[in-house]
């Protein structure tokens, strides 16, 4: 497999009156062709900003990518002109947003929204674009595609709209899809359907996917590789198996324990991650998870722990990674 996207030392900051917010602080990861990579973390840890940075859609002038490279097929996206970037968006890299209820334009028909992208990037005529739109709706499992094209978003349910969003994302056969919490706004059964659909489509079409989520259940089932983010940094990364069975960062461990499990007795209390995520405008030298960490020592306050290899592709940034309890032992 060849490398599709390589993010190196990405730093995105927001300059506000309350100070500089380091939303993304030195994130490094890569995505290979056809691979599904998950980015996991709490709200406000910089997951979405990382995605927006890749698309170069961070709200300027308050927010800016201050450092790092984003290599897509060898080209640094951060060096491209706005015009060149526009040709990449939707065409080579597509995005599926969190809110299917509001990411479709309510006054434009489904057909128009589907054909517009195809026509702009691929330059095909009306008939070909319409045929492609019908094909795409079929692909995402919507019946009666011809009629759907003339319907408006308010005719469709949340799950249907997300299917349309996926169809739009796939319309120009992109190399990479960034799905920013694609199922958060949907109910559980629809979530499973949509994720299953995305998994199958990306596998069949060979599209790579970055799936941004705070749901570890999603990660376990659908991701090849997982990056756990906390306060703008990736604090642990590895295969889904590494993260699940052998977490080497107290935050990952805490996240795992806060998820309900079927093998625990009914009525067992969840173990939430104590405290609040830190204020990203006021981070110090030390480990940002320290105030919430039960393993914290003085060393954690002195400097940020370096990212160290554990085995294979499993990395962790914690001084106390060897002292952690296995999640399995805790559960029993």
């Amino acid at each position: 497999m060849t490398e599709l996207l390589k993010i190196q030392g990405l730093k995105t900051q927001f300059f506000t009156s309350a100070g500089t917010v380091k939303a993304v602080d030195g994130v490094t990861y890569d995505v290979e062709e056809g691979e599904t990579v998950a980015v996991v973390g709490e709200s406000g840890c910089g997951k979405s900003v990382t995605a927006l940075s890749i698309m170069r859609l961070v709200a300027e002038p308050a927010g800016r990518v201050v450092d790092g490279n984003i290599l897509f097929q060898g080209n640094d996206l951060l060096q491209l002109s706005e015009e060149e970037m526009r040709k990449i968006r939707g065409n080579n890299i597509a995005m599926v947003f969190q809110e299917p209820m509001t990411s479709l334009n309510p006054v434009l028909s489904i057909g128009l929204q589907l054909t517009e992208t195809v026509q702009m990037h691929l330059g095909v005529d009306d008939a070909a674009a319409r045929a492609r739109a019908v094909e795409l709706l079929g692909l995402v499992g919507m019946s009666d595609a011809e009629r759907r094209l003339d319907q408006y978003p308010h005719h469709l349910s949340g799950g249907m709209r997300q299917r349309v969003m996926i169809a739009i994302a796939l319309s120009c056969e992109p190399k990479l899809i960034i799905a920013d919490e694609p199922t958060t706004a949907l109910d559980v059964t629809i979530q499973a359907q949509i994720l299953e659909l995305m998994k199958n489509l990306t596998r069949d079409l060979g599209v790579a996917m970055i799936i941004i989520t705070h749901n570890l259940g999603v990660v376990a089932r659908y991701a090849d590789r997982v990056n756990v983010m906390y306060a703008g940094k990736i604090i642990e990364s590895g295969t889904a198996e590494d993260i699940y069975h052998n977490p080497k960062h107290p935050y990952t461990l805490a996240l795992l324990k806060s998820v309900p499990r079927l093998d625990q007795p009914r009525g067992a209390k969840l173990d939430p991650v104590e405290g609040q995520p830190p204020d990203l405008a006021r981070l110090d030298e030390g480990c940002s998870f320290r105030p919430r960490c039960r393993y914290a020592t003085d060393a954690c306050a002195a400097s940020f722990p370096p990212t160290e290899l554990i085995d294979g592709i499993h990395y962790s940034a914690c001084f106390h990674k060897d002292k952690l309890d296995s999640p399995m032992k805790e559960a029993s």
Partner: protein, 299 residues
Amino acid sequence: MTAADVTSVSEIDELRSQKTFIEKSADMFRKQPLGAVGFFVVLAMIIMAIFANYLAPYDPTLNDFAAMLIAPGADYWLGTDQFGRDIMSRLIYGARTALFVGFAASFVGATCGLVLGVMSAYFGGTFDLIFQRIMDVFMSFPLIIMALAIVSIFGPSTQNVIIAITIPFIPRCARVVRSNALAIREIPYVDAARALGFGHARIILRHMAPNVMAPFLIMLTSFVGQAILTEASLSYLGLGVQEPTPAWGLMLQGGAEEYIESEPWIAIFPGVAISLAVFGFNLFGDSVRDVLDPRLRTQ
């Protein structure tokens, strides 16, 4: 999301589209009785304007010194003025002037305001700040003062009256549209459109502008009423449409003032026409909004 639900929804769609046009219009009038009144006033004006040649019993500019200052009666339904011109014919032809000036000024003004307002909201930041301050300057003049100033620079003529009314409309529409577009800007479909690689112009015109149609249409229709009123005011002050073109404002001028006590019909009928037209357009505007906005449309 089951197959059964989907079929029933499409069936309802079909049933709905099978309603005839007349049934639909009847439905609309039941729901919007005031709007229907406004609609008929507007319709009457449009018919008067288009078919003025056939509807007017006399030539509106013909001076007939044998028939000066005749009270409303069988020959002259609404009477004649001091030059013997038939008031009714002049009112009918005056609808042409009023509608032409009203539609041209409000359409151009509101459309410029729409584009500028959405642009201002979309780009935000410094552009928005500077642009809004310029709009503030324009807004600080009352409509009629601004129009008067412009006409006195360019000189009175129908075309200049349209320009004079258009310019003060732009900031008024831009302001209202901007405040709506600011909310639209934050809805994810705008970011989604950017993420699909669309350019600024396409996002502004195709994705954002249709979403602010509701305030735009209310502004547009209320502008038509205002424009008719302003045109009448300018004409009354002698800075608008020039004689002998029949215009309602012009009809209130000159003889109308002189003869107001002895021959009141010369002033009353054009006054009624102006009020009715403005009233009609405002009523119509409110219902157009209710009907055209898909978010307010009943399912």
